[in-house]
């Protein structure tokens, strides 16, 4: 069986050996999954993870360091795995199944239920978990470890692939750091210091972190004195203060391409699949409906969750149900009015959809307030609403489809179609940010490399060939379009808001009078 369709390019012998080493590592994990009871779990876990890492490293070094620096996209559309061929589908099915088992049937991974000790794959990870936090592994620990290894090993590969490009290297180093430190190690250490604190990945911000304002979570924080209070305040400041400031200065990329773990995986392990995202206009339309629906859902769901555990009596706690709803509605109205006042023109036709979205949210919140009880919102149990969000959005959308479908939908399907955090950041990026991708005058040759490489499915070429800057809410600022452009047409930059959006008909280079005539109409 061959990896390349018309056998255009073979892989070298070193690469074959490296693949074999990596597969050996996976094989150990597979054996554990099928309940092989390894005598020395620590040793075999180390071997498995080391083989996977070493295989990836050796493969990448042979693939990239044997060639001169430059763009390394040869044969991506020939290789079965990266062009929705048989291998791509096989990988998609394997990943998807893994996610389904992980989220819904962790016992098949060997999770010991009701206090029983772990078996299978999860037990293989017990030694590492004990080392870090002194407790048994869970399915999330296994997942977190594999996730981190993937970002580190494939991050290394990505850095070699773009070794001529410091923007790519730095942001990859950044996501590797945040994954290893903030998502993986620090929460474990926090547990060691204070085992009552809820798991908290400091860089995971609401609404991506949809459970932070859940009752158990808030109670967990609040019952832990100042640390807990500090953490939950940090969570609130993250979304309402830090995020707007950084997004204003740098665009949403500061988060999506430099910090976020979902983005981190997409940019490293997901990199071979970035070209699979659909660039069709219809996909863009679907994207805008889906992502904003999820945003509405997540806002309403969060408000509803908080609402259910607040009281009516302002003497008991200053934040009552009435006050809370009033505050939320007031806040949303302020944003809505501000946008309509300052940005009405830029929004054009989208203003209508914005208004619809706003009124739907307000109507839902009022409806909830009028019909809701401590237990019920929208006539269902508050907990059920939250559970539905957790299953459909938190698990199925972000995990099963978002990552499992990498080889089919491309690496950022979740970031593009589902992530409510991306929706908020994108909204701000589109309207209040210095970030844009500048198009270099008339230099575009419409080749399409940029659009092809855009994991967010943005038809970058459509703008570049008109000499127009790219200001799109979905752009995560990965910078790959700029890297692959053979004519140096694109540059990600933070500059003044003026002239950021510059629709043109006649490009630079033609008769200046004609440009004036047509463009200044």
């Amino acid at each position: 069986m061959s990896l390349a369709k018309p056998d255009a390019v073979d892989i070298s012998n070193t690469q074959k050996i490296a693949l074999a080493i990596g597969i050996l590592g996976l094989f150990i994990l597979a054996l554990a999954l099928f309940n092989t009871n390894f005598p020395n779990k620590g040793l075999f876990l180390t071997l498995a993870l080391a083989f996977i890492t070493i295989g990836t490293i050796v493969y990448s070094r042979d693939a990239y360091l044997t060639k001169l620096e430059g763009i390394k996209n040869d044969a991506v559309w020939f290789k079965s795995i990266s062009s929705r061929g048989a291998w791509g589908w096989i990988l998609g099915v394997v990943l998807t199944s893994f996610y389904i088992v992980l989220y819904f049937y962790p016992k098949y991974l060997g999770l010991g239920e009701n206090g029983a000790s772990n078996t299978g794959l999860i037990s293989l990870f017990d030694p590492l978990s004990h080392l870090l936090s002194g407790r048994n592994a869970s399915q999330w620990f296994v997942y977190g470890t594999l996730y981190t290894i993937a970002i580190l090993a494939f991050g290394y590969k990505f850095m070699l692939k773009y070794r001529h490009n410091r923007y790519q290297q730095l942001r990859t180093a950044s996501v590797m750091f945040f994954q290893l430190g903030f998502a993986f190690l620090i929460p474990e250490f926090m547990y060691v210091m204070n085992s009552d604190l809820p798991y908290y990945d400091l860089k995971s911000i609401w609404p991506l972190n949809y459970y932070i304002f859940d009752e158990w979570s808030v109670k967990g924080f609040l019952s832990n004195g100042n640390i807990g209070l500090g953490l939950i305040l940090f969570g609130i400041i993250s979304i309402f203060v830090i995020t707007p400031i950084l997004t204003y200065k740098y665009g949403k990329r500061w988060y999506c391409s430099w910090v976020c773990g979902c983005g981190g995986l997409a940019e490293t392990a997901g990199d071979p699949f970035r070209q699979l995202s659909s660039k069709k206009m219809s996909a863009w339309k679907l994207e805008r409906w889906l992502i904003h629906t999820v945003l509405v859902f997540s806002v309403v769901m969060t408000v509803a969750m908080v609402y259910t555990y607040l009281g009516y009596d302002h003497n008991a706690f200053w934040l009552t149900k009435d006050l809370f709803i009033a505050l939320v509605i007031g806040f949303l109205t302020l944003i809505f009015a501000g946008v309509m006042y300052f940005k009405r023109k830029e929004l054009g036709k989208d203003a209508k959809y914005g208004a619809i979205g706003y009124f739907v949210v307000i109507a839902l919140l009022l409806l909830m307030h009028l019909t809701g009880t401590t237990e019920h919102v929208f006539f269902v149990k508050g907990g059920d609403l939250r559970a539905a969000y957790g299953i459909y959005i938190g698990s199925i959308f972000s995990g099963v489809i978002g990552t499992g479908f990498y080889p089919i939908l491309g690496s950022r399907a979740w970031c593009r179609f589902g992530c409510p955090m991306a929706a908020i950041l994108g909204f701000q990026q589109r309207l209040f940010s210095k970030f844009r991708i500048t198009t270099n005058g008339g230099q575009c040759i419409s080749c399409g490399n940029c659009s092809n490489s855009c994991e967010m499915g943005i038809d970058v070429r459509a703008y570049a060939q008109k000499g127009e800057n790219i200001v799109r809410s979905s752009c995560v600022g990965c910078g790959i379009c700029s890297a692959v452009c053979p004519r140096g047409v694109l540059k990600l930059e933070n500059d003044s808001m003026k002239g950021r959006i510059n629709p043109t008909e006649i490009l630079l280079g033609n008769d200046v009078d004609l440009m004036d005539l047509v463009n200044k109409k």
Partner: protein, 432 residues
């Protein structure tokens, strides 16, 4: 309602159509024999290299044409009857027009080499050439070596393409150094070395004498004129430039030279017939430009201009400052203004090259007035609008060198070289 017919669905014809549609409600038909839909010729190489599929090279989705009421017709025009205002197709049918835009592009040059029409010998211009290459050079087992004849922009792209499939390449270049009719010596020499670093067998001062056939009429080797050396190969790429694709027009009343002759309004000698893009030949080059400019950007600009004329705003084709770009394997090249391979009488060049041998610039200026005339940059991206302004403002070379960092367009966090360039420039002035 006027019926505008455009022969050729390349950048020039399509740009004209798009702008006519913006400006008017006229009926528009684009005719092409090559493909159903507009695609970007400049991206042909990336299909063979597997970076993209053919459909990704199409800048507009298929629904675009119907939505904008631009009719597409596939067919080969074999004759233009300007008297009856009718096109005759090789397929036998006809199409009448009120106004005609000829945008038929180029075709690869062939200089009458023996064996130039054998199997396995091809240019690299049309989509069919690419299919031909895919057929004869699918991998390095079917094609053990390829020879490329002609060291220009398309030749080096073809070399890169074959290289991506690990097919050994011999690259015959007539000149003493790669593209040195256009590039100054230092740049050209750097590209020579870069080509060789990619393990491409670069042969300078080498002309093709003939291509030799095997018993099946397929190329099996070539002979080099100068040395008589025979090089065994499976594929021969002919990339010795292009010329206007206008043979079928010669029998009509439309005046032709090397291309379709047009005036500054892009009008031919026949009323209501225009020509744009690679196939158009100005009676005289505009502002020091060549009469025929076979590049993407000029095709687009002519399309933008002719649309105005056809829609009632008759204006001259009056391109602004020259610019262009290309990529030599891994090294990007941009140029703004004029830098000739040899400084002209009143001109002087300043050349800077980075020690890693992948970045350099050449700045051309007027010796007497110090006016900045143009820049070539390799491995450093520069801003088009900044140079366009500087050229319009007739800035001095000292000003440009001092403010070079304002023009830098490299991605964020890249190492910058402007201060090194500036100090090299000052040093050179002192020693002169």
């Amino acid at each position: 309602m006027d019926h505008i017919v455009i022969i050729g669905n390349g950048i020039s014809g399509v740009t004209a159509a798009r702008h006519i549609r913006k400006l008017s409600d006229k009926k528009i038909t684009i005719v092409s024999a090559e493909t159903d839909y507009f695609f970007s010729r400049t991206a042909l190489m990336y299909i063979y290299m597997g970076h993209m599929k053919f459909e990704h090279t199409q800048p507009y989705e298929d629904w675009f044409w119907e939505k904008n009421r631009i009719d597409l017709k596939k067919g080969y025009v074999k004759h233009i009857d300007t008297g009856a205002k009718t096109l005759q197709f090789a397929e036998g049918d006809t199409l009448s027009y009120d106004k005609l835009i000829i945008a038929t592009g180029s075709k690869p040059n062939k200089f009458g080499w023996p064996g130039q029409d054998l199997d396995g010998v091809m240019g690299m211009y049309h989509k069919q050439d690419l299919e031909n290459l895919e057929h004869f050079a699918p991998n390095n087992k079917a094609c053990k070596r390829a020879v490329i004849v002609g060291g220009g922009l398309i030749g080096i792209e073809l070399a890169e393409m074959l290289n991506s499939r690990n097919i050994p390449v011999t690259f015959l270049v007539r000149e003493s150094s790669f593209w040195n009719g256009v590039l100054p010596e230092g740049e050209s020499a750097m590209i020579n070395r870069h080509i060789q670093n990619h393990h491409i067998d670069l042969r300078l001062n080498a002309n093709l004498k003939e291509i030799i056939a095997d018993q099946n009429g397929k190329a099996k080797s070539i002979i080099i004129q100068e040395t008589g050396e025979e090089i065994v190969c499976d594929v021969v790429g002919l990339t010795a430039g292009v010329s206007p694709n206008i043979d079928f027009i010669k029998a009509s009343n439309i005046e032709t030279g090397r291309g379709v002759k047009v005036n500054r309004y892009l009008e031919t000698n026949i009323p209501d017939v225009y020509a744009v893009g690679d196939c158009a030949e100005q009676h005289e080059g505009i502002n020091g430009r060549r009469p025929i400019e076979a590049v993407w950007y000029t095709g687009r600009m002519m399309g933008e201009t002719v649309a105005q004329t056809i829609c009632g705003n008759r204006i001259q084709y009056n391109p602004g400052h020259w610019f262009n770009s290309a990529k030599f394997l891994d090294i990007e090249y941009q140029t703004y203004g004029w830098v000739f391979s040899q400084p002209r009488e009143n001109e002087s060049h300043f050349h800077w090259k980075h020690e890693d041998d992948t970045k350099c610039i050449t700045v051309c200026y007027d010796k007497h007035t110090n006016q900045f005339l143009g820049i070539n940059t390799f491995g450093i991206r520069m801003r088009h609008d900044v140079f366009d302004n500087w050229l319009t403002e007739k800035r001095s070379v000292d000003y440009v060198m001092e403010h070079l960092s304002e023009a830098n367009f490299d991605p964020e966090f890249y190492k910058t070289y402007e201060s090194a360039i500036f100090s090299a420039f000052k040093n050179e002035l002192q020693t002169v």
